[in-house]
């Protein structure tokens, strides 16, 4: 396993140690993508396997955060996160602004940029929208996790900053 993978795995173990965290998405309990591999050391009682309904997933995660939990909501590819843009841009990003700071939920959104080697997932599985999405967001903090040495520290900061955080990981580096 690469150092990159090991750092992500350490980060997930760090998050899992905290009582309120809950990991949700597709393939968090059942195998199927790299998200699953990074969560194998997290207890299943801390995970919720979800149907494929990306927009509902992100809104649901936001609602759980509003109600006191700390969701770590996982999207295996950036291409799939696009299906949740309404909840990401119109709701999660704007919630503090539209509620006059009455709701200030905390959560982590994990997304992976699909790899092109050794297999190229193609146009709908490998796009990286990190620069575009940074320009669209007003309050969500975006972490571009290219450097393996900064992965754990970034996750720790994201856990403590009392904000919504979008963590962009790179499958190619796994």
């Amino acid at each position: 396993m690469s150092n990159y993978y090991k750092e992500v795995e350490k980060s997930m173990k760090f998050l899992a140690r905290n009582k309120g965290t809950i990991f949700l998405g597709q393939s968090v309990i059942y195998s199927g993508n790299l998200i699953y591999k990074t969560l194998t050391k997290v207890k299943n009682s801390k995970k919720i396997e979800l149907p494929v309904f990306e927009e509902v997933q992100l809104g649901m995660s936001l609602g759980m955060a509003m109600n006191g939990l700390f969701p770590v909501t996982c999207f295996p590819r950036f291409d799939f996160l696009l299906c949740a843009m309404n909840q990401l841009i119109n709701h999660a990003d704007k919630i503090k602004l539209i509620t006059n700071n009455q709701y200030s939920p905390q959560m982590i959104i994990r997304v992976l940029v699909g790899a092109k080697k050794p297999l190229n997932g193609g146009e709908q599985h490998t796009q990286n929208y990190v620069n575009v999405i940074k320009r669209m967001l007003k309050t969500i903090v975006v972490w571009d996790l290219k450097d393996e040495k900064k992965i754990l520290s970034s996750y720790k900061k994201a856990f403590k900053n009392k904000k919504i955080n979008l963590m962009v990981e790179y499958s190619q580096s796994y």
Partner: protein, 214 residues
Amino acid sequence: MYLHIPKNLKIKKVVNYSLKELREFESKIAKDYNKAKIKGPIHLSHGNEEQLIKIFKYIDKDDWVFSSWRNHYHALLHGVNPNLIKQFIFEGKSMSVSSNNPKFFSSSIVAGILPIALGVAKANKIKKNKKNVWCFLGDMTAETGIFHEVYKYSKNFKLNLNFVVEDNLLSTNTPTHKTWNKKKYFNHKKYPDIIYYRYSNYYPHHGTGKWVLF
């Protein structure tokens, strides 16, 4: 008045607002809007007071309530401070009136509240909190795919999430049933556990129907 309330629901509180008081609140907002004192869109209610007063008897003060851009009545009836509601309205945020105590949240995006309400209900279940979550949605929202996903998930996992469909036959000014080529009213009998009522618009979709110069 057409109102369907499932028989299993129990009355939780006395509602503190009368039809007259609700109408007076909206009427004052309409006057201020016509005087160009409110520099953002407003979506006023009128004609659904009796239905909402009956429905809110089933909603506990500690429950969560989710609404849409037309939310003033829902906020008042859930006990949100009228001054806080006015503050949102006068700031131009009428479409997103919210409150942390009591728990009230609204969104100006069609179906936007539904997944969020689902998450609140899911968290309640995880935390073993038996309080209810209530979603008020229009007839077009009730036809969306998001509604069906959220409804299915909430029922399959037995979450305390309740839906109230408010059917005025319109989405903005578009007749919902014509766009879907279906019968006139939302078929609420397919969802016996949903509260459902019908009403007709008095005010336009937004504003007051008068030309206001800002």
